[in-house]
Structures are given as structure tokens and as C-alpha cells.
């Protein structure tokens, strides 16, 4: 795995975080990478709830190909942290039975593209067992999926499945954008009684940031809501996962031109915090939604439509979508052409700012 193309973006995020952190005198923060934050969250969840189990391909001895489960087997034992045979449907189907037996499975699918073999079990079983059983068989399953692109990986290792999962009734979907979010959202997800698809932005695994373990949202926001990562007056950028850092970087650049960009980290991709979207765009009156997934039928359409429905009167321009293209995720260098880059996001901002009613 080569280096992330998103390397340069950590600064933007850390700037955005620090004011909030500075405000709280009692905060016990530590600087760590998202990989470390996720590892810490799993470690704590395993320690706090004896019914949790962590498993998947290479999750045990190896600690996962991204080392997210590093050291957990040694610490919590081979029964609670284990390797499975190489079969994703098996991993998720087994999770259903474990949940029926009262466990809280935290399975991993090794890469986004390898969630497809498990879709049948996810959609037809995990998402519906609570409903089918009239609430008697809850499915407290937290499925971790290293997701999205940006690491120059082979085919099937750079996919964005959020639109698929968000469309499935019975699933909740979340994606953290930085170490702090990763730590708190994973701890939150892994203590819920409903299935959560947890999409980890793998290009951000190695970026460091401050984690305040004591509290998630300094401003008292809800852990199920979206989060303003940078306040602004002229336009709202909506993003999630790795695109949040990129949008913060764009906001920094736009500020040099006097454009005051608000960056909203959606965090939960299902259910979507429609109120936060409305609140932001009622203020800025313009919005651009950014994602890595292909344009058509992507989650950007849902976000745009939610904004349009809530803010039809105040919107000064149609919501813009800056997204991946309707092409299979491309290889190597072409990835830089595919993932929304700074220029393309700036063009999107320009379009909504310069929009004139015809």
C-alpha cells in the first residue's frame, strides 16, 4: 500500500479542531492516528462488554491488514478476537446467529469491495431480523468496513458503498472523519442494539489528530447528528469520511479569496440529520455536497434533495454535487482524477456562488 494521496490535508483538520479543544479546560486529550483511535475504542468496548466479539479475515494474530485490531487477540483472548475462514457471507451470516445467541458481534470486512459477497446476509438477514422477529431478535452488529479510495490500492479496494447501505431499511450507517470522531462513533455504534455499518476512511487511518476521550461533542451536540467542523456564511460544504478533511482544506483556500465556507461533517449517512442540513443552508443559502462515490444515485442526491425540500425558498442556487464519476473506480494515478479534488470542489463552490436566475 503506498501513501495516501490525502497526506497534505491533516493540517486543515487539526486547525478546525483545536478551537473547540482549547475551550474546555478539563479535557484530557491525546494525539493519535485514526488507526490508534479505532484500536483504542475496540479495546475499551471489549473490556466493558463481555458479550462483544471482534472477528474477520486476519483480525486475530495479524491484527488486521490495517492493524485496527492490533494486539486485541493477545489481550482479550482467542475466543473474543478471532480469525475466520475467507468468506464474507460466512462472517456476516455467522454474526446473525451470534446476535441471536445474545452476543454483540463487531465483524470486519477486509475492504469495501469485499462487502458485496456478504450483501445478501446484510440486506436480507441483518437488516431485517429485528423486524421479522417482531423485536425479539435484535441485531446489535457493528460491521466495520475499511472504505473509500485514495491509497493507490488494487481494484475493489477503493469503493464507496454508503448509498447502497443507506437505502436498506433496518441499517444505520456512519463514517468518521478524524481520530476523535472515529473513537467516539465506534464506541457509540458498538453499544447500540441495532445494526450499524461503520465505514472507515482508510486514507485517513494514519493521519493524527486530538482525541478527547472524555466527551464527544464539546458543544453538547447529539452523537447521532451531523457536526459543523468549520462555521461559515457563504456556502455549506457537506461531506463525510475522507472528504471532510479535503473540504476543510478547500475552505481554507476559499477563505483567502474572501469566501466563508461552512463545512458540515454529516457523520451519520443513515439516518441523515436533515435538521442540521437545513439549519446550515438556511444560513448560507448555498450548498455543495461532496463524495467519492459515483454521481448517479449516490448519497449526494439524497442530501441535495433534503436540502432543497427544507430550504427551497432560501436557496440561491441549485445544490451542486461534486462526486466521483459514473465509472468503475480507476487504478493507480487515475484515482486522482476520479476523487473530487480541490479544484473540482472550488468549481462547485463557484457555480453556486455565481448562479444567476435565468
Amino acid at each position: 500500500m503506498s501513501n495516501s494521496i490525502l497526506e497534505g490535508e491533516s493540517a486543515g483538520f487539526r486547525q478546525a479542531q483545536s478551537p473547540a479543544q482549547a475551550q474546555s479546560p478539563a479535557s484530557t486529550t491525546a494525539v493519535m492516528s485514526m488507526q490508534q483511535a479505532l484500536n483504542l475504542a475496540l479495546d475499551e468496548v471489549l473490556a466493558e462488554n463481555p458479550r462483544t466479539l471482534v472477528f474477520g479475515e486476519d483480525c486475530g494474530r495479524l491484527g488486521g491488514v490495517f492493524r485496527i485490531t492490533d494486539g486485541l487477540q493477545a489481550k482479550h483472548g482467542e475466543q473474543r478476537v478471532f480469525d475466520t475462514p475467507l468468506a464474507e457471507s460466512g462472517i456476516l451470516g455467522m454474526s446473525v446467529g451470534l446476535a441471536m445467541a445474545g452476543f454483540h458481534p463487531i465483524p470486519e470486512v477486509q475492504f469495501d469491495g469485499f462487502a458485496y459477497p456478504a450483501i445478501n446476509q446484510i440486506v436480507c438477514q441483518i437488516a431485517r431480523m429485528n423486524y421479522r422477529s417482531r423485536g425479539t431478535l435484535p441485531m446489535p452488529i457493528t460491521l466495520r468496513v475499511p472504505s473509500f479510495g485514495g491509497i493507490r490500492a488494487p481494484e475493489h479496494h477503493g469503493e464507496s458503498l454508503e448509498a447502497l447501505f443507506a437505502h436498506v431499511p433496518g441499517l444505520k450507517v456512519v463514517s468518521p472523519s478524524n481520530p476523535h470522531e472515529a473513537y467516539h462513533l465506534l464506541k457509540y455504534a458498538a453499544t447500540r442494539p441495532d445494526p450499524v455499518i461503520f465505514l472507515e476512511p482508510k486514507s485517513r487511518y494514519w493521519q493524527k489528530g486530538e482525541v478527547d476521550a472524555a466527551r464527544h461533542d464539546a458543544d453538547g451536540g447529539s452523537p447521532t447528528g451531523a457536526k459543523v467542523m468549520r462555521a461559515g456564511r457563504h456556502v455549506t460544504l457537506v461531506a463525510w469520511g475522507a472528504m471532510v478533511a479535503r473540504c476543510l482544506q478547500v475552505a481554507g483556500l476559499a477563505a483567502e479569496d474572501g469566501i466563508d465556507v461552512e463545512v458540515l461533517d454529516l457523520r451519520w449517512l443513515k439516518p441523515i440529520d436533515a435538521e442540521a442540513l437545513a439549519a446550515s443552508v438556511r444560513k448560507t443559502r448555498r450548498a455543495v455536497v461532496v463524495h467519492e462515490a459515483p454521481l448517479t444515485s449516490g448519497l449526494g442526491a439524497e442530501v441535495a434533495q433534503l436540502i432543497t425540500q427544507a430550504c427551497f425558498d432560501t436557496l440561491k442556487a441549485p445544490v451542486e454535487r461534486v462526486t466521483g464519476f459514473d465509472v468503475p473506480y480507476p487504478s493507480g494515478d487515475l484515482e486522482d482524477e476520479y476523487i473530487p479534488n480541490i479544484d473540482r470542489i472550488l468549481f462547485g463552490i463557484q457555480r453556486v456562488l455565481e448562479y444567476k436566475r435565468g
Partner: protein
């Protein structure tokens, strides 16, 4: 085929007592009668559809009878009415699925130890493996019994389940009812090599291929398999050879893919009649026993009919209330607008 080592304790080797044999017969009659009643009910419009298990009574009653509902857990498909009945599941709640009142059935799966009805072919085979592995983790001695068909054996999930179970030595009994057909496709065009039981060896797992129309043979085989799995020896596969004597479902027309002659040849002797002859021959039961069983079966079916008729539709709010344990604002908003627009409140 029998590659299952002889039972260590011999606990499972004891043959059923005469009273148990009569109970097995009564169960088979109850199941047969309910099954044929359900087809009639579908024709009368009481239920929109039904998947009969005509001819599979021995396989279902015999295997279901081996279940210990204080510790085991059973994973059915859409055709295990006989298993549910044998396990003592509330049959109105069970049959509600055929009334399309609720997909998974209205019975409580945890209490009855029967997972919700499963319409995805091979859908719950892996669940059984997970549940069984949970027993190992909890150091409990329950066994998971999972049912599937010859058709289902072609699904990738069945392979993944067998491999997982065998690698983890999970206490699972894979119970295949090879009834000769998957809708219109006969076993020989479905199961390469001709036997699902033959697959087990490839996983280092013992297997039994048995006469699925002999209720005592089925019971004994299932008991042996349970004992093996319960003792920590890992999974077992049972292939019960039987025949789907009726249509696949009330929507199916078997005349399109098999002749009456083929049907008769394939079906052989009716398992209920066969058991009756045997009980008569060895003096375990007489006509009076049979008459009592039939009368009870009739009364029971009547009661179930009454219960089914009384079942109303489910309230629409359940659509929204049962999705999650923790509902969401978006879902509540949808429920509210549904109430406004559809209930006009």
C-alpha cells in the same frame, strides 16, 4: 451412508418407547391433517398461499422430536410446519405467515426455540453456525438444528456454513430434506454427485444418509447426531431421503414438469401409512389409537382455522415500530405522514 462414529454414551441409542411411538404417530397425523387442511384453506381464500410438506411428515416429526427445547435451537425454512408442530410451537402464530399476516410468523422465536420462518433458500444455515458457536463461547451444551433442501444445497452459503462449522467444531446438525425436487428441478440436475451427504467428508464431518420416510430411523439418526454435536465433536450432516408428494406451493403446477407416473414411482409408500402398518404389525397401536389421533388432529385443525380466521391484519404502525430497537427521527416523520395520509387522522 453412515460415517458417524457410534455414540460414546449410548444415551441416544435407546429405541423410542411404545408411548413415544404412538406420540410420533399422533404428531404425524396432526401434521398431515393440518397440511391438507391448509391447502383447502388456500382454495377457500382463507390464506393466500401455502407450501405443503405432504410426504415429509416422517422427516420433520422424527427430527423435530429429537430437539430439546430447553437448550437447542432450530432454524427452519418455509416448509417446516411439521417441525414447528412437533416442537410445540403455537400453530396459529406459526401459520400466520401463510396468511401473510407477518413474514417471520407471530410466534416468539426465543421462547419457542424456533427461528423465524426463512424465505431465502439457505438463508439461515449460517445463522445456525453462529448460534452454535455462541454455545461454545458460553460453554453451554445446546445444539443448533438447521433445515434445508436439496435445492438449497447448491447455494454458496451452505458451503461456507459447513466449512465454518467444521473449522470451529460448532455443535450444528445440518438436516437436509432431500425431497427430490427444487420446484421443477429434480435432484439429479441439482446435486452433482447425487448426494448432499457425500459432501460432508470433504469437510471432515460425519454424515448420515437415511430413509427420511421412516420416522423412527429419522428420530434415531437425529438423536445420534445431537449427541455427537453436544459432546463437543463438531457438526454432523443428515440427509433424509424423502419425496415432495405435492406441488412446491399452492401456486405451483407439477404437471408441467413431472408425470403422475413419475410422481408415483418417486414417492413410494406414504410414510404415514407405512408407520401405521408397522405399529399395527408389532402391536404398538390399534385402530382405536389411530382413530383417536385422527379425531384429535381434526379438532386441532379446526381450532387453528378458527384462530387464523380471527387473526386480523397487523396495524400499519408496526411497519415503522419494528424496524429498529431505537427508532429514528426520519422514520418517525414517515410514520406521522403515513398516519395523516393513510389513516386520515
Amino acid at each position: 451412508m453412515d460415517t458417524l462414529p457410534p455414540p460414546a454414551s449410548g444415551e441416544s441409542a435407546a429405541p423410542p418407547t411404545p408411548a413415544q411411538l404412538r406420540e410420533l404417530y399422533a404428531l404425524m397425523v396432526a401434521v398431515r391433517h393440518l397440511d391438507t387442511s391448509a391447502i383447502a384453506w388456500q382454495r377457500q381464500g382463507l390464506i393466500p398461499g401455502y407450501a405443503p410438506e405432504l410426504g415429509q411428515e416422517a422427516a420433520q416429526v422424527g427430527s423435530g422430536y429429537a430437539v430439546d427445547t430447553t437448550r437447542d435451537f432450530v432454524f427452519p425454512t418455509y416448509r417446516e410446519m411439521g417441525v414447528a408442530r412437533t416442537m410445540g410451537v403455537d400453530m396459529v402464530a406459526y401459520m400466520s405467515t401463510h396468511k401473510a399476516t407477518w413474514h417471520g410468523g407471530l410466534y416468539d422465536p426465543l421462547e419457542s426455540r424456533l427461528a423465524p420462518i426463512q424465505a431465502v433458500v439457505a438463508g439461515s444455515v449460517l445463522h445456525a453456525v453462529g448460534w452454535a458457536h455462541g454455545q461454545t463461547l458460553d460453554a453451554k451444551d445446546g445444539v443448533a438444528l438447521t433445515y434445508f433442501g436439496d435445492g438449497a444445497s447448491s447455494q454458496g452459503d451452505v458451503h461456507e456454513a459447513m466449512n465454518f462449522a467444521a473449522v470451529m467444531k460448532a455443535p450444528v446438525v445440518f438436516f437436509v430434506q432431500n425431497n427430490g425436487w427444487a420446484i421443477s428441478v429434480p435432484t439429479e440436475r441439482q446435486v452433482a454427485g447425487g448426494s448432499v451427504a457425500a459432501r460432508a467428508a470433504g469437510y471432515g464431518m460425519p454424515a448420515l444418509q437415511i430413509d427420511g420416510d421412516d420416522v423412527v430411523a429419522v428420530l434415531e439418526a437425529t438423536r445420534r447426531a445431537f449427541e455427537h454435536a453436544r459432546s463437543g465433536n463438531g457438526p454432523v450432516l443428515i440427509e433424509a431421503m424423502t419425496y415432495r408428494r405435492g406441488p412446491h406451493s399452492t401456486a405451483d403446477d407439477p404437471g408441467r414438469y413431472r408425470s403422475l407416473q413419475e410422481e408415483r414411482d418417486g414417492a413410494g409408500i406414504d410414510p404415514l401409512e407405512r408407520f401405521r402398518q408397522r405399529l399395527l404389525a408389532d402391536g404398538t397401536a390399534d385402530e382405536a389409537v389411530f382413530a383417536t389421533a385422527l379425531a384429535a388432529a381434526k379438532a386441532e385443525a379446526e381450532q387453528i382455522r378458527t384462530g387464523l380466521t380471527a387473526l386480523g391484519s397487523r396495524p400499519g404502525t408496526e411497519m415503522f415500530d419494528l424496524v429498529f430497537q431505537e427508532t429514528t427521527p426520519a422514520l418517525q416523520a414517515q410514520a406521522a405522514s403515513w398516519r395523516e395520509e393513510s389513516e386520515h387522522v
